[in-house]
Symmetry: C2
DNA sequence: ATAAGTTTGTATCAAAATGATGCAATCGAC
DNA sequence: GTCGATTGCATCATTTTGATACAAACTTAT
């Protein structure tokens, strides 16, 4: 199918979606000691946006978020949490979408379903950076990771959504042990600490961090050692499977 | 206007609402050492429900919640917080509403807007019990307070919504100082402790509770003393106005 | 007036959690 | 083997929290 055919199909699926409701996902990844967010880019308009989409009439909003996540990353079974619903009357304008459609030869009337008011249910996801294959959607030409400290201006109220997702993630970090989802299956204590330091944006004392993590008794030592570097090799951990 | 005229008007306002989106409010009050929730009662069907409603196309969801709250309690300026959005495909059936409409002589077709799928944005409110005048809506005949431990079976997924609101409130209690909203303008330390004990459902040590509350430095002693009882009079507090 | 009975406000001590520092152990490079 | 680097953990200091005690302030009974 050509892009234009895809778009035609999409525009025609309007009636299959639950009206007024959209889902936006803040997908967090961790790479090279940076907390990253997956953003979509619109080449024509040079605009950025969060991965998002609409809810089919026969799926739950959670299912919609899972589906959108899968479509944009190629990964299922992702840690996902709803954090807030954004329900302002005017969350920004849809010029970018209009322009994108227009560039493909589709001129949307003002009352087109795509240009109506939508509330957006925000979900944040924690993914293993290396497993993700950023995949653009119909509107976008590119998907890519952006350092949380260098998020460009996004469409609509998406910058606010990212902010809220980040503050929720920070709160969750020491309430629920959830950070692991951003690392690979196994990891060292240093990697885990580095992750926490990046998310919380502050240094932590190594000895105390280790003591705290071990005291929760959810970590399991895997291989005894790990070689390569000129120093004492660290233990490698994984999360205990709650049997 | 007669009730039936009210209902007719309401049914005709369908197009003014944002489709698929509803708001439900869990209104907490505190009275006689009990945590209460305001519920509406449908006399014909003997069903109970949370106060809720729909979102006008030109108001935000927060504004809708505030409006609904005001309509059901007569109080504006209420502490209100969004806590979760419930987006399952099948949140339960609308038989009760259908029956209520029917009892007023309105037979709704299956595809009537009121019988469509709605997602519900949950808000919880903390109100001063004594200031509230429970007021029924078009569907209900009565509004009243119910002890959190004796919530009857509610329509749709409203029982789950109450549960989630309560667990969120408990989490919030020691993260954010928010309990005051359930008391009157001024209160004693004992009243505040009693409130905390009721919400958290556990006893707290008086001395330590007092120390903790005072250490946050948001309480202000008002009147020196308080008389009537045969013992040392307690201080009366109010929240410091953050100047 | 005085004593008795309560409840309040706060001090004090014990225990637990957290912050900070030090040191032995283990690896590769030389 | 020695050196430099990093890990794992012990240890101590500090802070927070849990538990108990006691004096102060009020009304009622005598």
């Amino acid at each position: 199918m050509t892009p234009s055919q895809n778009i035609k199909t999409f525009l025609e699926t309007g009636p299959e979606y639950l009206p007024s409701v959209s889902v936006d996902c803040v997908i967090f990844g961790f790479h090279e000691r940076q907390l990253k967010v997956l953003l979509l880019e619109f080449k024509h308009t040079k605009a950025f946006a969060l991965p998002g989409g609409f809810v089919f009439k026969d799926e739950s909003t959670d299912e919609a978020a899972t589906r959108i996540l899968w479509e944009r990353t190629g990964v299922k079974d992702i840690y996902l949490e709803q954090f807030h619903t954004f329900g302002e009357q005017n969350r920004g304008n849809w010029d970018v979408h209009k322009a994108t459609m227009s560039s493909h030869g589709f001129e949307l009337e003002t009352n087109h379903w795509l240009l109506q008011r939508f509330i957006s249910i925000g979900y944040y996801a924690l993914v293993n950076f290396s497993k993700v294959i950023p995949t653009p959607d119909i509107f976008s030409d590119m998907g890519g990771w952006h350092d949380i400290h260098q998020i460009p201006t996004l469409i609509l109220d998406h910058n606010r959504i990212v902010e809220k997702a980040l503050s929720t993630l920070r709160l969750m970090l020491d309430y629920k042990l959830v950070g692991f989802n951003l690392l690979s299956e196994t990891f060292t204590m240093k990697e885990l600490q580095s992750l926490y330091e990046t998310i919380l944006d502050k240094k932590l004392l190594r000895a105390n961090f280790q003591r705290k993590m071990l005291s929760m008794e959810i970590l399991e030592r895997v291989e005894k050692k790990f070689s390569g570097k000129a120093h004492k090799p660290p233990y490698v951990y994984r999360i205990k499977k709650t049997a």
